[in-house]
Symmetry: C2
């Protein structure tokens, strides 16, 4: 067979040649932009010529600090298709971490949304390699800034070459992108994505048993484009000619629901907290969501009650998936097998609330204390992953050695796997509650709590305990309508029939919110800090 | 990213671990066999151990002469997963060509169906490298044969190791399969398929805009397993966990229709002549074909009238595709773009009767006399193809040089490409009729003739002509009900409004059948021979 490489240039060239009429809808600071892939492709070519003029060479890192919009999409293709490496930066991290990240990656150029400028202004003295800042704005004039030198994105593009050729003769294993992920302790660590990995992953997103993205779709990635390439969705959409809807800055559940209705969105993707917010919005107002064929949910476990509500109350099919920054991210897809459709509703939702079955091209191993565990849905072990879109190291980071062992990524996630191959995340190795020599799954307790009508969110953490080593404590946010109407005793009674007695939380704290990471995951570390003092003397 | 190779071992291991309950239905000499993928995987492992015992080493060629059935499927995985190369042999070729093929490939071992033994017995003296023959039969005893040494497939398997490991540490570019294709003149020429190529191609079969094969499917490949790996369908089915229905020896349209109904087949694949036969069967008898979501048609052009009849009369979606032995085969998929669904019925069927749009990962170029042609649906040029599942040579064959030039496969197919990217095969460079310095497309004339109610099949060929160089002559087979009721004049009148006058055939011959290749394509070479004498003196 020909050794033609798998490169991102193929994706944008395909959209340019075969889907020039298909649209990219983008919400920016000033409203809704409508563009065609013909325009996206031309602007991408212009941007490639701009990068070359600004001295960006093959292998150089180019950072973005931006929301989900069409200009960010153009960097997604222009940077790798010029031979450089797209470094999407999570601007919700602490300024210290952002500055660490930019320096560690040695970003040469930064693309930044106007509203994110203050973050960069605050750390500009610490940036060692950045040669310039390209500001992405709808305005004709650049905003006032202390950064220098600064460029105006649209002005650069207007001077670019609309027929600039993409890079040729690139090895498919060349780096195309990079993304940092928060570590439990210490600085964030980086993963490099190759052209081959991104392309194969996009192909997996097109498979029917995964997300089945096709030309017929209108996709709205709520998941930020700085977070694992928005789960690869922009790549799949451009390649397959799907319409893309990018929700822009500081969106709300209301805005998402309005875009679903206005643009007839067929598939959307985000973390559970996004969907909890949407459910609340759908409860309070009426929207036509009948175009939606799939809500894709990952990042952390979606409670069964939420999945069921989307499907039975709003008739929106809900797909639970699993992945990590290290895995591009798709590893598990929660689609049922055809013969499982005949199971009872409860049995089906039990499967659908698991993280799913491993997708083609990827292999897993689940390792307990005595080697590979039984596929019985009960035994717990750590999840190990390998495959062509799984990272093989942390970029220039000594934490590589602990996570990548003998060709397998050690995820730190504790899982069970059932007879049918469906994997359930029980906990993080670090978040498991070790009580009296046994493991308690905080995730199971959280899901059970969130099935209570009055509970909006729940996080269960371990607190140190002299006798049992650790004991679970639940932190609960009540829905507005239930504030002050639900007691600790009521929730404990609600849990009691579902768990062994020793699994029940020692305490339930009512909070006004659960601290979250920039991508909407519960920040259990912060929560533990917050709660620790209260139980400093627990016996 | 990890450099884990793309290997066929992943496919069968995935079926073994995640789809053990899914079925392979197989029709053999003695009836219908039902097996599960658990059994298929175990039998495949046993077969790997058998191959090793019989001295088959990494890189050795192993031939099969077999119909579509479960044992043939087992060789599809056991041979490449032992590190050897599966050589599927078209047993409908002439004995001379079959013996050439076996010798040229240096097949070490041959797997053969009992009813194909006489072919091998007739050429056994000429086979230079074959060390043994494994007979695939349902019977407990081997049939009488002059071949030696012979082995009984089931007996070998019963002595095999059910847990035999597959090959490890194989490069993804290693050969996995090979297939010979007939040449216009001379001996057949061979293409080698790599693990990487087959796997990427199978992934493409899973994409929604192509065939979208998934776990939910029940696939019946009518296309022979000796013909371009049955278009890769067995690989996709095993990998994605689809149910497979293999129709076995000497099937008829009636049998195919019965299997559709009995097994609730969702997708089937074959050449136009198969579907013409099925249409006839559906006209004469009643079957429940409501489970079918797709008929995939390739190998040669399907007439628009046939596509329309399947869709409008029988409500069976019909997908026109294009490929060659050299291309694994999928290159074009005839699925409409979403906005094309709004076109008129006639416009839609005009697009659907083209060969389709190039699939992801593959690139094309259409080259006329003055370089790349306009995408206007009119200009004609030769189709050039490249991509990771396109062959880069004919195996040990000096015809490589003419077909593979500067990294592109020169197909010899003359095509147009329209504004939307849909390609239409106008002819073979060799089958085009060159009349008075202009080109006439035999395919266009054939399709027009086949749209006539009384015409069952039509082939248009060039006959030499002193004045015009070549002129078209049509060979027509009438439907039984119309025999002797349709005249030459009537057909010419039928064609007249559709073509320029000089395109109309000089003559129309009524035949009882059109000679066909082993895979059901019109054998125009033979037809030209047959007709030549008649027109030896045409002026």
């Amino acid at each position: 067979m020909m050794n033609t490489p798998l490169l991102l240039t193929q994706m944008i060239e395909r959209a340019e040649r075969y889907f020039p009429k298909k649209e990219v809808i983008s919400r920016t600071e000033s409203g809704i932009h409508r563009m065609t892939y013909a325009q996206t492709a031309e602007r991408t070519r212009r941007l490639v010529s701009v990068l070359r003029k600004l001295g960006v060479n093959k292998g150089d890192k180019v950072g973005t600090l931006a929301w989900n919009h069409h200009r960010h999409l153009e960097t997604y293709f222009a940077v790798p298709c010029s031979g450089a490496v797209l470094h999407t930066i999570n601007f919700r991290l602490s300024p210290q971490h952002v500055s660490y990240i930019i320096n560690h990656a040695e970003d040469k150029l930064l693309f930044v949304d106007a509203d994110i400028l203050p973050l960069l202004e605050g750390i500009k003295e610490q940036l060692n390699h950045v040669k310039g800042f390209v500001i992405m704005t709808d305005q004709n004039e650049l905003p006032e800034t202390t950064l220098s030198p600064v460029y105006h994105y649209e002005k650069l593009l207007s001077e670019g070459n609309p027929k600039e050729p993409f890079i040729q003769d690139l090895d498919e294993n060349s780096p195309a992108g990079m993304c940092y992920t928060s570590a439990t302790t210490g600085n964030p660590k980086a993963v490099i994505y190759s052209h081959r990995g991104i392309l194969l992953h996009a192909m997996a997103l097109g498979l029917v048993d995964n997300t089945g993205i096709s030309e017929r779709d209108t996709a709205l990635p709520v998941v930020p484009m700085f977070h694992v390439n928005a789960w690869g969705i922009p790549f799949a959409c451009v390649w397959f000619g799907a319409k893309l809807v990018l929700p822009g800055p500081a969106f709300s559940p209301k805005l998402i629901a309005e875009l679903f209705e206005a643009e007839k969105v067929t598939i959307s993707a985000g973390v559970p907290t996004v969907w909890m917010g949407l459910l609340k919005e759908l409860e309070e107002h009426t929207y036509d969501t009948s175009s939606l064929r799939m809500i894709l949910c990952g990042g952390s476990a979606a409670p069964k009650s939420m999945i069921k509500e989307f499907e039975t109350k709003y008739h929106i099919p809900f797909l639970h998936a699993y992945g990590m920054t290290e895995t591009s991210p798709l590893v598990f897809s929660g689609v049922l097998k055809s013969y499982q459709e005949e199971l009872s509703e409860e049995e089906r939702y039990d499967i659908k609330s698991k993280q799913g079955m491993v997708v083609p091209c990827i292999e897993i191993k689940v390792v307990g204390l005595d080697g590979e565990i039984q596929a019985d849905g009960k035994e717990m072990g750590e999840l190990l992953i390998r495959g062509p879109w799984i990272a093989d190291e942390y970029y220039q980071d000594e934490r590589t050695e602990a996570a990548f062992v003998n060709g397998w990524l050690h995820t730190g996630d504790v899982v069970t796997i059932d007879e049918e191959g469906y994997v359930k995340i029980v906990d993080r190795t670090k978040d498991l509650i070790k009580s009296g020599g046994e493991w308690i799954s905080s995730v199971d307790l959280e899901n059970a709590l969130m099935a209570h009508a009055g509970v909006f969110e729940a996080a269960v953490i371990a607190v140190p305990n002299e006798k049992w080593q650790e004991r679970p404590v639940a932190c609960v946010v009540l829905k507005d309508a239930y504030k002050d109407n639900v007691t600790k005793e009521e929730l404990l009674e609600f849990l009691a029939p579902q768990f062994a007695k020793w699994w029940l939380p020692d305490d339930i704290l009512f909070l006004s919110e659960i601290p979250k990471t920039g991508v909407g995951k519960f920040l259990k570390m912060a929560l533990r800090e917050q709660v620790k003092d209260l139980y400093a003397n627990s016996k």
